[in-house]
Every structure is written in C-alpha cells, then in structure tokens.
C-alpha cells in the first residue's frame, strides 16, 4: 500500500475512494477525523475509558474491514456513528456494566479562560452535575452527553439511541429539565 501525504481538506468521499485504492494515509486521515467522536459515543454508552477505547478501536477495524460494503453515496460520518453505536452496545452486552464514576481517571478538557476562579468553580460544579446526569434514564443521559459532549444533531442522536429525531429532541429537553430540577438550578 502506498504512503502519501493527504491534505486535510479532502472530503470523506474522496478519502474513502483513496482507501479503496489502497492508500494508508487516507485511512489515517479518516481515523484522525473521527476517533474523538467515536470515543465520545463509546464513552457515553459504556461509561468506562478502557472499554470505550477498545470499542473505538474495534469500531475502526470494522469500518475498514467492511469498507467495501460502504456505498459511496452514503454518509461516511453516519456510517461510523452506526458502527460505533453497534460496537458499544455489543461490548455493553458482553461485559458487566461497571457503574463506578470514571471521570477522575480521564483527562478533562479545560479551556483557556481569563477568569481562572470561574474555571475552578465550574470544574467543581461539573463533577456534581456529571454525577447527577448518571442518575437520569439511559435515553435522556445519552441524549444529553451526545449533544453536549460531541455536538451531535438530534437526528444523529436518534440514530444512536434508536429513536426518531423528534423523540431524541424530547429526551434531551426532558433530561435537561430534570437536571435543572435535581440540581435546584
């Protein structure tokens, strides 16, 4: 397989065609583009960093193993989301669902802000809010995490939680409402 440099501006469809013709660099670019999103989905479903990493890895192995089955006219992002979802739920079925809080183990993403004290306050509050989110019904919890953590559209959320776009929107808003209620916000 040939090693070539791929400019980042190439669309998913072009990269997939390059993968068809055996270009490893195109595969790397697609992995770089989607691993974070894929990990986020696996993490939201599995709630464990190691399990999510494994599921994410398996997801990409399956993506490229079955790349021949991917129809060029489809949406590659959507296809990756579906495989990530299936892989996560498959791991969830196979392994015992460990419910311990894992947020101390993973590296949080902190933004640079001028107001450091506000950042610290938000971080402390964030732990509390994250704990409360875990008490929500699965569909509401997933809708909130996928919307806020990964920025997915309601259509994409529906694809993952197995409901319609409208239903995932309702799950999200109900979840936010319940969170506000539980946190006394």
């Amino acid at each position: 397989m040939a090693e070539v440099n791929i400019p980042k501006i190439k669309s998913d469809e072009v990269l997939v065609r390059m993968v068809y013709s055996g270009k490893l660099a195109a595969m790397d670019t697609l992995i770089d583009r989607y691993y974070s999103l894929c990990f986020g989905i696996c993490m939201a479903v599995l709630k464990d960093c190691d399990d999510a990493s494994d599921a994410c890895q398996n997801c990409f192995v399956n993506v490229f193993k079955n790349i021949g089955k991917f129809r060029g006219d489809g949406n590659f992002r959507s296809w990756v989301l579906t495989i990530a979802r299936n892989e996560s739920f498959s791991v969830l079925r196979q392994r015992k669902n460990r419910r311990e809080n894992v947020y101390e183990e993973i590296e949080p993403v902190l933004r640079n802000r001028e107001d450091v004290s506000r950042e610290v306050f938000l971080r402390i509050e964030s732990f509390r809010v994250r704990e409360v989110v875990e008490t929500l019904p699965d569909k509401q919890r997933l809708a909130i995490k996928l919307r806020i953590d990964e920025g997915l559209s309601f259509k994409e959320i529906g694809q993952i939680i197995g409901s319609s776009e409208g239903s995932s929107r309702v799950n999200y808003h109900h979840g936010i409402g319940k969170l506000k209620e539980l946190l006394g916000a």
């Binding site: 986020g40 994410c56 990409f60 490229f64 193993k65 947020y103 949080p108 971080r123 809010v129 806020i148």
Partner: protein, 149 residues
C-alpha cells in the same frame, strides 16, 4: 435585529458552548441570554457539563491505526496463504524435474558433456566445433590457423 424565542435560543446553547457559532448568531445568543434567566440557567448547566467532558486518551489514534494496519496486512497475508499448497507442489515438481535431468543424463557427445571444452570457431561447417586439444598435431593446428586466416 433577530428577536429570538427561548425555544430557538436553546437550540444554539450547546453549539455556543462548543464555540461553533458564527459571530452574528453568538452575539444574538449572548443578547438573549442576558435578558432570559431560564436560558441563562440552562447555558450555565451546559457549560458545567461541557467542561469535564471525557477526552480520548492521547495514544488512542495511534493504537487504532496500528490495529487497523495489522488487520489489513493480516487480511492480505491470509489471501496469499491459500495459494501456498499450490506453490509448494509446483516447486516440488520443478525440483524433481531438474533432479531427473541431472541424475539421468541422456547419451550425448563428448562435446556436449564437457562444459569447458574449447571448440574451434569457423564458418566452414566441417571445421567449426572442432575440439582444441593439447594432443593435436602441429600440422592439424596449422591447418586450422590457415582456415581462420
């Protein structure tokens, strides 16, 4: 100026926290949030959730690339592996055929058997291929030299 209802503003809150809004929409959202305590509360809640969102381990993309390549090369190797028995049989047949040629040489002339024999080059069909041997008489060699000239 766009006047937003809460339902519309709430649709932009998570994108706003993620920094994905264009400047005009962000300005409009900020203006709405300033006047709306409900949206302001929801924005703060989303900020709290977003700040500790799980990030993928740094080594994960490398591990994925490694796993994918391994899978790809394994697939390629296993594709060629199915031709191995055929290749082995062909090699055996060729070897046996060569061995047969070496061990059971047919009756051939002295000239054909000795790879290092020197033969006389000539356009004259009768002289061409004559063996150049030490025991050739001087007269015979002279004849050959004459022929070459």
């Amino acid at each position: 100026m766009i006047i937003w209802e809460c339902i519309e503003a709430k649709g932009y809150l998570s994108a706003g926290v993620r920094g994905e809004l264009s400047e005009p929409i962000k300005a409009e959202l900020d203006r709405h949030v300033l006047d709306c305590s409900d949206c302001k509360g929801e924005l703060e809640l989303i900020e709290k959730l977003f700040i500790l969102r799980p990030a993928a381990p740094l080594q994960l993309p490398l591990e994925i690339k490694k796993a994918v390549r391994l899978e790809f090369f394994e697939a390629e190797t296993s594709y060629w592996r199915k031709f191995l028995p055929a290749a082995a049989v062909t090699t055996l047949l060729v070897s046996a055929s060569l061995l047969d040629k070496v061990l059971f040489l047919p009756d051939i002339s002295l000239l054909e058997q000795d790879f290092f024999v020197n033969v006389w080059p000539s356009e004259d069909y009768d002289l061409a291929g004559s063996l150049v041997l030490d025991d050739f008489s001087e007269e015979s060699l002279n004849l050959l030299f004459e022929e070459i000239k």
